[in-house]
C-alpha cells in the first residue's frame, strides 16, 4: 500500500509538463540513437549529459533514462529492416527479424518487437519498484568495510562474467582501475599522475572517456566495415500482426521478461547476453525449432522482451547500492553525482522525488515509445537513408561539442581522441572495453572504502570479515572465485585431448 502511495507521488513528478517534455526528448533521441548504427545508448547518453547540468535532478535522470530504454526500442528497427543492429543488444533480432522483413512480414516483426519491449520494460519496472526499497532498507547498515568487499565482489563478477576471455577482461578491469588513479588522492589530496596539470587534478573525465571508448571507436570501426544501408520500407497498413503471431509471441514475451530481469541485476553482464539466452531458450522450447533463422516470430519476441527487461533491473544495483551494473547506468551515476545526489540505500529516503519520479517516468516513457515507434517507423527509417558523408561528420561534430561543453577543457577533447583510438585498437583485437569503464567508476569508491575501513578499525584487517553484510559479500566473493577456478581447471583438463586430436 505504501509502495502505491509513493508511486502516486512519483507519477505526480513524472507527469508534470516539463518532465513529460524531457521524457519525450529522451525517448526520441534514444530511439534515434538506437536506430543509427555507430552511436549506441552509452554515447547517446554521454553526449546529452552536459546539457542536463541546468536541469533539475529528476528531469535530468528522466531524460537520460528515456535515452537508455528508447535505444532498446530503436535498435530493433534497424535490425529488422536493414539487418544491421542499431545497438549491440539488437544483434539477435537481426537473425529472424530481417528474415521476416524479407518475407513481407516486417510489420508484424516491428509490432511484436515494440509490444514485447513494452511488456518487458513494464515487468522490469514493477520488479524494480518492489525490490529496490526492500534492498535499500537492508543496505542501510553497510559500513566502509562491507562496502569495500561489495566493490571487490562487483569487480570480480565484472571480470569473470563479461564477454570475452577472462584474462583479457581482467586486464581491462585493471586498466580501468589504473586510469581511475589519475587526479588528487581522495583522502589526502596528494597528486597522482597529474604531471602538474590543474585539469588532470580532477581526474580523467568520465564523459570524454566514455564517448571516446564507445562512440568514437564505434564510428571508426564502422568506417572500416564500410557498411551500406538499404533498409526495407514497410507500409503502415502492413504493420498489424495476425492473431497467430500474437499467440506464438506471448509465451516468448513472458519468458523473455523473466530472463532479462534476472540478467539485468548482475553487474558486468551486458543486456546482450540476456538476448542470446532468450533466443536459445525459445529455440529449445519451440515445437518448430527449424523455423528459427528463417523468420520465427518467437525469435524476435523473446530477445526484444529480454532486452528491455534488463533496463529496469539494471537500475537496482545503481539505485540501491550505487553500483552501475552496466556502463549505461554508469552515466546515470555520473548524472546523479553531478546533481549532488548520492545513489545508495539512502536515496529512497533522502530523495524520494528523484527515486519514485524516475520509476514512474519509466512507465510513462515505455508507453510513449510504444505509441511513437509504430506510426513513426517510416520517419525513423528515413534517418538511415541519410548518406554517411553527412551523417558521420555530424555525429563527430556533436561528440566534439558535447565533450568540450562538460568542462570547457581542450584536454577533454584530447582524452576523447586518445580513448577513441585506444578503444578502436582494443576492440579490433577482441578486447571488451565495457569492463574498463565500470572499473573506472567503481575503483575510486573501492579505494576510499578500503582506506576508511582500516582507519576506523585502527589497522585491523579483520574488519573486512566482521558484520553480517561483509560476511555475506565475502561468501559470495569466495563462491565466484571457486566457480571460476573450477571452470579454468575444467578448461585446462580438456586442452591436452584437443591438441592430440
Amino acid at each position: 500500500m505504501e509502495t502505491l502511495h509513493h508511486l502516486g507521488s512519483g507519477f505526480a513528478v513524472a507527469l508534470s509538463w516539463h518532465n513529460l517534455f524531457w521524457c519525450l526528448v529522451g525517448c526520441v533521441w534514444g530511439t534515434l540513437v538506437g536506430v543509427l548504427p555507430g552511436l549506441g545508448p552509452l554515447a547517446g547518453m554521454a553526449l546529452l549529459l552536459p546539457f542536463t547540468f541546468n536541469l533539475e535532478p529528476a528531469s535530468a535522470l528522466i531524460m537520460l533514462a528515456g535515452i537508455f530504454y528508447g535505444a532498446m526500442y530503436g535498435g530493433s528497427t534497424t535490425s529488422i529492416l536493414a539487418r544491421i543492429p542499431g545497438e549491440a543488444a539488437s544483434v539477435v533480432t537481426c537473425i529472424d527479424g530481417y528474415e521476416m522483413a524479407r518475407q513481407g512480414r516486417a510489420g508484424p516483426a516491428l509490432v511484436v518487437s515494440a509490444v514485447g519491449s513494452f511488456f518487458g520494460g513494464t515487468v522490469s519496472i514493477v520488479g524494480l519498484m518492489l525490490f529496490a526499497p526492500i534492498l535499500a532498507g537492508a543496505m542501510l547498515s553497510v559500513g566502509p568495510a562491507a562496502e569495500f568487499v561489495l566493490m571487490a565482489l562487483a569487480l570480480l563478477v565484472v571480470s569473470f562474467v563479461s564477454s570475452g576471455r577472462p584474462i583479457r577482461t581482467v586486464a581491462m578491469v585493471l586498466l580501468g582501475l589504473t586510469v581511475g588513479l589519475v587526479g588528487l588522492d581522495p583522502l589526502t589530496a596528494y597528486p597522482r599522475f597529474t604531471y602538474g596539470s590543474i585539469d588532470l587534478a580532477d581526474g580523467i573525465g568520465f564523459v570524454p572517456l566514455s564517448i571516446g571508448l564507445f562512440g568514437i571507436s564505434e564510428i571508426l570501426l564502422s568506417l572500416d566495415r564500410r557498411e551500406k544501408l538499404d533498409p526495407i520500407r514497410p507500409r503502415l497498413r502492413d504493420l498489424f500482426p495476425k492473431s497467430d503471431d500474437l499467440r506464438r509471441s506471448a509465451p516468448a514475451m513472458a519468458r523473455g521478461s523473466l530472463i532479462g530481469f534476472a540478467f539485468g541485476i548482475i553487474p558486468g553482464i551486458s543486456h546482450v547476453v540476456s538476448t542470446f539466452v532468450s533466443y536459445a531458450v525459445e529455440k529449445r522450447l519451440s515445437p518448430r525449432p527449424e523455423e528459427f533463422g528463417h523468420g520465427a516470430i518467437a525469435g524476435v519476441a523473446g530477445p526484444e522482451t529480454a532486452n528491455n527487461a534488463t533496463t529496469g533491473s539494471s537500475m537496482i544495483p545503481l539505485l540501491v547500492l550505487g553500483i552501475p551494473a552496466i556502463p549505461v547506468t554508469a552515466i546515470l551515476l555520473s548524472a546523479m553525482l553531478i546533481h549532488g545526489i548520492r545513489p545508495g540505500p539512502q536515496l529512497v529516503s533522502d530523495h524520494p522525488d528523484v527515486f519514485w519520479g524516475l520509476i514512474a517516468s519509466m512507465y510513462v516513457g515505455n508507453a510513449i515509445l510504444l505509441l511513437l515507434n509504430l506510426p513513426l517507423v517510416g520517419l525513423f527509417v528515413s534517418v538511415l537513408r541519410i548518406p554517411k558523408i553527412y551523417l558521420t561528420p555530424s555525429i563527430l561534430l556533436i561528440c566534439i561539442i558535447g565533450v568540450y561543453s562538460v568542462q570547457a577543457s581542450a584536454l577533454d577533447l584530447s582524452i576523447m581522441v586518445v580513448a577513441g583510438v585506444a578503444g578502436y585498437v582494443l576492440r579490433k583485437f577482441g578486447f571488451d572495453v565495457a569492463p574498463l569503464l565500470l572499473a573506472l567508476v567503481l575503483g575510486g569508491r573501492a579505494e576510499i572504502s578500503f582506506r576508511r575501513a582500516l582507519t576506523i578499525s585502527d589497522g585491523d584487517y579483520g574488519t573486512f570479515m566482521r558484520g553480517s553484510a561483509a560476511q555475506v559479500f565475502l561468501a559470495a566473493l569466495v563462491l565466484v572465485l571457486s566457480m571460476q577456478a573450477v571452470a579454468w581447471t575444467a578448461g585446462y583438463r580438456r586442452r591436452p585431448a584437443t591438441s592430440e586430436e
Partner: protein
C-alpha cells in the same frame, strides 16, 4: 617453424604495452607516500593495481607468444578511418587555439572531402553550412558556451 612475423600479433603488442604501463604505474607508486598499515597512503593502490596489471598483461603476452592460437587476420584501417583520426586530433589541438568556428569548418571540410571525394569548394560550402547550423543549435538554442573565435 614460427617466425617473429607470426608471433608479433596485435594481442601480444597490446599486452606488452599494458605490461609496460603496469610497471610504470608501480614504479611511480613507489615514489608516493605509502602511509602505515593502519592508515594506508596514496601509494597503496597504484602499487597494487600496477603490479597486477603488469602480471596479468605478462600472462596474456606469454599466452599469445606460446600458444600459437589461430586468430582471424585483422584488417588494416581504411584510409577514411585514418583521416578521421587525424581530423579529430587536429580538432582537439586547434579548438582553443584558433577558435571553435574555424576548427569545426576545417574539420567538416576535411571529412567531407575524404568521405565524398568532392572538390574542395563543395567541401568548404558543406562545412560552412554545418558549422553555422551547429552555432545556431548549440549556442543560440541550447546556450552552450563555446569559444567560437579567438578574440
Amino acid at each position: 617453424m614460427r617466425t617473429w612475423s607470426d608471433v608479433w600479433r596485435g594481442e601480444a603488442a597490446i599486452a606488452g604495452i599494458l605490461a609496460a604501463f603496469g610497471i610504470y604505474v608501480t614504479w611511480s607508486g613507489l615514489g608516493m607516500p605509502a602511509g602505515t598499515l593502519a592508515v594506508p597512503g596514496p601509494a597503496v593502490f597504484p602499487i597494487a593495481v600496477g603490479t597486477l596489471l603488469a602480471l596479468v598483461s605478462a600472462g596474456i603476452l606469454i599466452g599469445a607468444v606460446s600458444s600459437g592460437a589461430e586468430e582471424p587476420p585483422v584488417k588494416a584501417p581504411e584510409g577514411e578511418t585514418v583521416v578521421t583520426v587525424l581530423a579529430l586530433a587536429g580538432a582537439a589541438l586547434l579548438f582553443e587555439r584558433i577558435g571553435a568556428g574555424a576548427t569545426l569548418v576545417a574539420f567538416l571540410a576535411v571529412l567531407f572531402r575524404a568521405y565524398a571525394r568532392r572538390p574542395w569548394w563543395q567541401a568548404a560550402l558543406f562545412s560552412l553550412c554545418g558549422a553555422s547550423v551547429a552555432w545556431a543549435v548549440f549556442t543560440l538554442l541550447l546556450r552552450v558556451g563555446l569559444p567560437w573565435t579567438v578574440w
